[in-house]
């Protein structure tokens, strides 16, 4: 059962990581929206994500649904605990999601949907970061129920992680745009990526310093005994990706900055997973305390093993259909028949 619990935890982890990376870049495009050089650039930006955003967001449903499947107890503790940030994130994602359809139908109200896209992306990203911070700092649990108040999630640490995720998604968005655009939009994306890359690294360092201070158990995980030796690849690889990020931006590579940013996210995610393990709701609920019954896990894991590879396969295919540079007029041109 412990093995099943750990495998289940890994499946959830992969779903959330996929979500963070994939929706991260299209939320990032939204965060950068008002700073774009002109309206044409904004059309290009939205066209670059329009065919894929829906699939990206589906990973979020898989994350939530997966938690209900594999860890119903964790799902029923975490969601009431994070009621306000979860609801805020959902409202934000609504505003952002409808922009794709409404904006290109709009003539006079384009600016309204531009704003909805920006604020929706910004608030969703911030709330996701806040949720992450609130989870890492710990949730008050009694038995199988949440025992804290409605605002326990709101602390300086969770605000810091919220800002960190906003800046990080911005970086993913900017490096995605380096890859998908050309000319003056690409130049602008490059200079944005430099600023946001710096911001992301500062946020990562700040979170890394503060996390071990939250609980002795986390400090012990990283610095106890010889752990630091085993875990040293994490900070070292992070450094390597940071170097490759800046080097590739300055040497005008197109794809490498995006891949480097993804690398930074994967490592940040791994760092958090290492700090939390074996808890799914720190500090007291371990994966095996919250895991669903055997019959549910076996059934669901069988489905995941069969279906998920197919999903990944056609997701790659869907991306490959829209390879190459996004254009201002293809895809969703927002004024039809001018």
């Amino acid at each position: 059962m412990e093995t099943l619990a750990i495998i289940s935890g890994a499946v959830i982890g992969v779903a959330i990581l996929m979500y963070v990376v994939l929706d991260g870049f299209d939320l990032g495009v939204g965060i950068l929206f008002p700073f774009a050089p002109d309206e044409g650039a904004r059309n290009t930006m939205i066209n670059s994500v329009a065919p894929v955003w829906d699939g990206n967001e589906t990973w979020l449903i898989l994350g939530g649904g997966g938690l209900l499947v594999f860890f119903p107890i964790a799902y029923s503790i975490a969601l009431p605990a994070f009621y306000i940030p979860v609801m805020a994130m959902l409202f934000a994602l609504i505003f952002r999601g409808v922009t794709f359809e409404f904006r290109h139908q709009a003539h006079t109200s384009t600016h309204l949907w531009n704003r909805s896209f920006f604020w929706g992306s910004l608030i969703a990203a911030f709330m996701q970061g806040t949720l992450l911070g609130a989870l890492v700092q710990g949730v008050e649990v009694e038995g199988v129920r949440y025992a804290g108040g409605m605002f326990d999630w709101l602390t300086p640490f969770s605000v810091l992680t919220g800002i960190g995720v906003v800046v990080g998604y911005g970086l993913l968005g900017a490096t995605w745009l380096i890859y998908k655009t050309e000319g003056h939009v690409q130049d602008w994306a490059r200079s944005s990526a430099v600023v946001l890359g710096g911001g992301t690294l500062i946020a990562m360092v700040a979170v890394s310093v503060m996390t071990p201070l939250l609980r002795p158990a986390i400090a012990d995980r990283w610095f106890g005994g010889v752990n630091i030796l085993y875990l040293s690849p994490i900070p070292l690889l992070t450094l390597a990706f940071a170097v490759s990020l800046f080097w590739s931006i300055f040497s005008k590579r197109e794809l490498l900055p995006f891949l480097s940013s993804i690398g930074l996210f994967v490592l940040g995610f791994a760092g958090i997973a290492i700090s939390l393990y074996p808890n799914i709701i720190p500090p007291s609920v371990a994966v095996w305390d919250a895991v669903a019954t055997r019959s549910s896990i076996v059934f669901a894991l069988a489905g995941v093993a069969v279906v998920l590879p197919m999903v990944l396969l056609y997701t790659v295919y869907a991306y490959s259909v829209f390879h190459g540079k996004a254009s201002e007029h293809g895809g969703y041109a927002h004024h039809e028949h001018e």
């Binding site: 209900l68 799902y75 969601l79 999601g97 359809e101 129920r145 293809g330």
Partner: protein
């Protein structure tokens, strides 16, 4: 007594968000099927009218699909925020069904929707058609899983409660629980019938105003065929679904019939004001033996009565009773439209009868009303339980969530969804008013390849 009763507010909130959500899948499930039909016809006949139709309706599909995605995401998290006890207890049984919906349906839809909407220039016509088919398949698979989950809450099977959580011992019994097959057929048909009414209604509007003549005729004909075939089918399926409910949830049927005492020779009440406090009806107008005849095919047949269970175990009778009548009444109106259309077609006057077209226009949104009414019957009729007979709604709510939070989010949902619905209707009206775009001559003659424009309906600048 706190200023707000958090549980009641949470119930209102869920009723509102789930009712809002279901409007959009109802249209997209059916419309995806129509789009497959239009594109298949175009590929087979090369008649461009079908392509024009596809391009027009795919815009409405995209708009509606987007609304379904954002309002559906909310639900997958609302289970946990507002109904954490329910999530913990039923999660091991229902979680995997919802998980499978995401894996087998949502990803499929999302993966190929991009190609369906923007892939015209990027992939060939056959591959594009495949994408349309896969999106349509995705919508159907999605209905399969979510209706399995919902049906399990109505007629739980294949699992037992151990230490406060369900443990499943037979997954096939969980999925194919007793009410699932009829509910799946009834809801899928509702989707297609609603879409047929929307397609006929909007096309009838064009026929009445004399615009887009050829395209409108073709769509009107297709839509009216749909209504003619689906309305009687739906009445049959509804009847079977009702008999299934009689077997497994007799008290729900008692509420639908407004019948208080279990007895034979029960009339069908065309009109009544059920009074739950007094446990009787006021102002009954009835067909003698009607209810016994419908449910038991025998005038003396025994029909269950609400008083079989304590008052606190009865569903809110009035809502169930009246929603049922709205649904059935509309169902027979749809049948009337279908038969009238069939008659007019047989006489060769399908496109000429003004009142038929006006009737069709007036029923454009009626399928949604009937679908919602049907959901009210089945969901309100399940009360006071979330899992019928096993878990009460009051025990399903999140204990730590305060009334003020639920009230705040409820008000926000009302405002935001109200605004969104306004925007949706505004852009929908805009699309309908502009109507299907004819293929530009330039497109068909000089640049045949441009038929597969980047966005359906969009004249793409030459590359």
């Amino acid at each position: 007594m706190p200023p707000f009763d958090a549980e009641i507010l949470a119930r209102l909130q869920f009723a509102f968000t789930v009712s809002f959500h279901i409007l959009f899948p109802t249209l997209t499930i059916g419309l995806a099927g129509f789009l497959v039909f239009f594109e298949a016809k175009y590929l087979r006949t090369h008649n461009e009218t079908w392509l024009v139709l596809y391009r027009f309706w795919v815009k409405i599909f995209a708009l509606t699909f987007g609304m379904g995605v954002v309002s559906g995401l909310v639900l997958s998290y609302q289970f946990g925020t507002n109904w954490s006890e329910w999530s913990r207890v039923t999660g091991p049984a229902l979680g995997p069904l919802i998980g499978f919906e995401v894996l087998t349906a949502f990803f499929l839809e999302a993966g190929f929707l991009g190609i369906m909407l923007f892939g015209w220039q990027k992939v060939g016509p056959r591959l594009h058609f495949l994408a349309t088919c896969l999106v349509a398949t995705g919508t159907a698979i999605s209905a399969f899983w979510i209706l399995a989950a919902n049906s399990w809450m109505q007629t739980p099977a294949g699992a037992s409660l151990v230490n406060g959580q369900y443990v499943v011992d037979d997954w096939l019994a969980v999925i194919f629980n007793p009410s699932f097959p009829w509910r799946l057929l009834h809801m899928t048909t509702a989707s297609y019938l609603t879409t047929a009414l929307v397609v006929s209604g909007i096309s009838a509007f064009y026929l009445l105003t004399g615009s887009h003549r050829d395209v409108a005729r073709q769509a009107f004909s297709a839509g009216m065929w749909g209504v003619l075939m689906l309305a009687p089918l739906q009445i049959f399926l509804g009847d079977q679904h009702g008999l299934n409910t009689l077997e497994h949830q007799p008290i729900k049927v008692a509420a639908m019939e407004g019948n208080w005492e279990t007895r034979g020779g029960v009339p069908f009440h065309i009109f009544a004001m059920p009074d739950q406090k007094e446990q009787r009806n006021r102002l009954e107008i009835s067909i003698p033996y009607g209810s016994s005849l419908i449910l038991r095919h025998d005038p003396a047949g025994i029909v269950p009565g609400l008083k079989d269970v304590a008052v606190e175990d009865q569903p809110p009778v009035g809502i169930v009773f009246w929603s049922f009548r709205v649904m059935v009444g509309l169902g027979f109106l749809f049948l009337a439209l279908g038969l009238w259309g069939g008659w007019a077609r047989w006489r060769g006057t399908l496109y000429d009868v003004i009142w038929l077209k006006r009737f069709a226009v007036s029923l454009t949104p009626a399928g949604f009303v009937a679908t919602l009414a049907g959901w009210f019957v089945t969901e309100v009729g399940r009360q006071p339980y979330t899992v019928y007979g096993a878990m009460r709604t009051e025990d399903s709510f999140s204990p730590s969530v305060t009334g003020a939070s639920v009230a705040t989010t409820l008000v926000l949902f009302l405002i935001v969804y109200g605004g969104l619905f306004g925007a949706y209707l505004y852009y929908l009206t805009k699309l309908v008013r502009r109507g299907p775009d004819p293929l530009a001559t330039r497109e068909t003659e000089e640049k045949p390849e441009a038929i597969r424009g980047a966005r359906p309906g969009l004249v793409v600048p030459a590359e």
